[in-house]
């Protein structure tokens, strides 16, 4: 799965997610990616999220919208992302990762699995990582 979130100079946010699904899946199996609120969500009143990981788990907790709810309660992008991922891990034993941005340009790349390839461009600076702590 691949995904992206963005906020422009006027605070407009957007998300996009695309996937081949899971290896050896049953024909017709659809995971979280095309489902609004799970594979991604974007709302100018809060921010945008794109998710990846155990699709069925992400669907059950509606992960992308769940993270934005935490941000509506005043949590930072990083706290909200971690809360959503830990909820998914404890509630449905699912692992995954998210990239999140808010309308002021704060961003995070967080994951509960062992690794997630990510990159961010802001203020003409490139950030990237793969393993925890990067």
């Amino acid at each position: 799965t691949v995904g992206a979130v963005a906020v422009d100079s006027e605070g407009n946010v957007a998300c996009a997610t695309s996937t081949g699904g899971i290896l050896n899946k049953m024909e017709g199996r659809v995971g979280d990616t095309p489902c609004i609120g799970s594979g991604g969500y974007a709302d100018n009143s809060v921010g945008a999220v794109s998710t990846t990981g155990h699709g069925e788990a992400i669907l059950k907790v509606v992960l992308a919208r769940h993270i934005l709810y935490h941000m509506e309660q005043g949590r930072s992008v990083e706290e909200a992302s971690d809360l959503g991922l830990s909820h998914m891990k404890s509630r449905v034993v699912g692992l995954g990762g998210v990239v999140t941005v808010d309308t002021k340009g704060e961003w995070s790349a967080r994951f509960s699995s062992n690794q997630m390839a990510w990159a961010a461009a802001c203020d003409q600076t490139l950030h990237w990582g793969l393993y925890r702590g990067e």
């Binding site: 691949v2 906020v7 998300c15 996009a16 489902c35 974007a42 990762g97 699995s113 990510w118």
Partner: protein, 166 residues
């Protein structure tokens, strides 16, 4: 405020020999998407451009390089959402499309629906003049080798999915 773009290339296991390709891929995608901003594009333009870049990169499980189904085929899903008016477009279980995220954006912009699936999505793609590609062009040696390796003879396609990442 300066624009921000953040991309991910998936949270599943990346073998060490492919780590560099994945890292190079997400950096290339974020540059391609950010360039859209400098050219005056919108946030939707930027995220779609970044995802197209990764769909075309065989290092990622999307577009070319997608993992295979139990039957050795490709079935892809994609979503786009615009925070300005909550408009959204998605496609699911599409097979002969090089860039599903482009088709998802067309669903958002050219229909009153949010999601089109399988045969309906394929018919819509033809209506929109989206070129069909042979499934073979989406399958890489790596994805085929993983499919062969992962397929325990007679394995229940659902049970062997447990613990797999999308």
């Amino acid at each position: 405020m300066r624009p921000v773009l953040v991309v991910h290339g998936g949270a599943g296991h990346i073998p060490s020999e492919r780590a560099q390709g994945s890292m190079g891929g997400v950096c290339a995608a974020v540059k391609a998407g950010y360039h859209v901003f400098t050219a005056g594009g919108s946030s939707v333009d930027a995220v779609v451009e970044a995802v197209i870049n990764m769909e075309d990169n065989p290092h990622f499980n999307a577009g070319r390089g997608s993992v295979l189904t139990a039957g050795g085929q490709v079935e892809m899903d994609a979503l786009v959402m615009d925070g300005r008016d909550l408009s959204s477009g998605a496609v699911s279980a599409v097979s002969n499309i090089a860039n599903p995220v482009k088709l998802a954006r067309l669903v958002m912009e050219k229909t009153s629906h949010v999601c089109l699936t399988a045969g309906g999505a394929a018919a819509f793609a033809r209506q929109m003049g989206v070129q069909e590609v042979p499934t073979e062009s989406l399958i890489t040696e790596y994805s085929r080798a993983r499919w062969r390796k992962n397929q325990a003879p007679g394995a229940n396609p659902v049970e062997c999915q447990m613990g797999k990442m999308g």
